[in-house]
Amino acid sequence: MNPSLIDYTLHLADNALIIGHRNSEWCGHGPVLEQDIAISNIALDFIGQARNFYQYAAELAGNNATEDTLAFLRDVPEYKNVLITELPNGDWAQTTLRQFLFSTYQYYFYQQLQNSSDTRLAAIAAKSLKEVTYHLRWSSEWVIRLGDGTEESKQRLLTAVDELWNFTGELFLPAAYETALMQEDIGVDLSIIREQWHQKVQEVFAEATIQIPEKSWAQQGGKTGIHTEHLGYILAEMQFLQRAYPGAEW
């Protein structure tokens, strides 16, 4: 058993589940019916990705772990998602910008991961990449539309950039389990992704007529279980039934 591989797989699963959870909060409340469908669909893709990773992590972990014990019975310090995924949705600008920043990262991440020497991770990455390609296109279009839309939409987008930027650095700061797996040719090289990410963000921001901020401070901790205050509330809500009725089948 490779403990880094379990952590790595859980990290990917947690990222998908938590951003999926946030996006699913829009379901029924979107600004346009078609976009309500789009964001719910993206949420659904993420729940699907999370399940694939959790199922693999459960097999690796043994001890009767299942996708559901991993999702519903771990507490905040055991969750390994990056902080940006757990931030509240804010307005449509903040949600779509977060999606763009995260999807850009995930797009290059899965591109590399599909060549992983771990065939299971490679297969999940290849399958998910199709979905993420769409997420990236959809979210880029929104960033451009809002940046080059009205004065108000531009202001809101700039506010969102300001809110989220400090949370992007963490994406590229490897946790110990990431460094270990990169050396084993299982995990991806984040320094390559950082370059690709930066270039793509710059391109889309230029089209959206906005600038990349100068600031470079990175809020971090999610990958090793030190979260924002928000995650506790997400888990309290998400895990409520499993915690209130231990051992029940649903």
Binding site: H21, A71, E249
Partner: protein
Amino acid sequence: MEKNLEQLFQEKIDKEIRIEPKDWMPEKYRQTLIRQISQHAHSEIVGMLPEGNWITRAPNLRRKAILLAKVQDEAGHGLYLYSAAETLGISRDEMYEQLHSGKAKYSSIFNYPTLSWADMGAIGWLVDGAAIMNQVPLCRTSYGPYARAMVRVCKEESFHQRQGFEILLTLSRGNEAQRRMAQDAINRWWWPSIMMFGPKDDESPNTIQSMKWKIKRFTNDELRQKFVDICAEQIKILNLTIPDPDLKWNEERGHYDFGAINWDEFWQVIAGNGPCNKQRLDARKKAWEDGKWVRDAASAYAAKRVARKEVKVA
């Protein structure tokens, strides 16, 4: 002249020829359809709210994915139906306006709260079950775009109903607390579901004309009876009870008899006094108002793109 057109129209209806958007139709037929289809579309959209209430709390990942997919399907149904109504000469924005102002109605069932996970089961089994009973005949309704939209809707609805029944079945085989949860949900959703078929035939003023135009093919009471007969059998599989002491097989009629419906509650909820009327409408209005700047930005951007293209072409 007008009379001839009307006769021709009725002849087509009688011969089961579909009416299409460009065909002549009596103004009242058009208005009846706009009212019915938009009400149906609004029901799908408002109906996303009570179930959406449990997406973030679904008990496991499989249920979460199914519920999310289901609520998203409802948004899709809303979309087909709004499009079908638009073929009759009303815009989606006008229909929203009518919903938000209270002029247009939506199914009253969605003015009841979803208080436990079992409500996801009861809504699937009973509410979607009643909806299917109403909707299957609509696949043959006389107006083409509506009938075609309903074919797609019905396919997905039957999946929704099965997943609801399966939630209840799982709960009914679970622990004591889960069985209580399931029974409580059925207790709360049974009568409102029965009311979904609308007022009794003799108090349903539009039924006769709608049947003549083959918009409707069965009366409210016929469909309600069919629904009761089916549920009375299915509840046995769940080993739970339907909250109606008068529910009893009637050999002579070949149907189940059932107890008196509380019509006072029905009319009160329609009038706005259900437990969640205000909450549901407020949620819809808020989504619409909060989304205004987003829609404005999208139109402004689209206009800029067109302008840039024109400059390039010139």
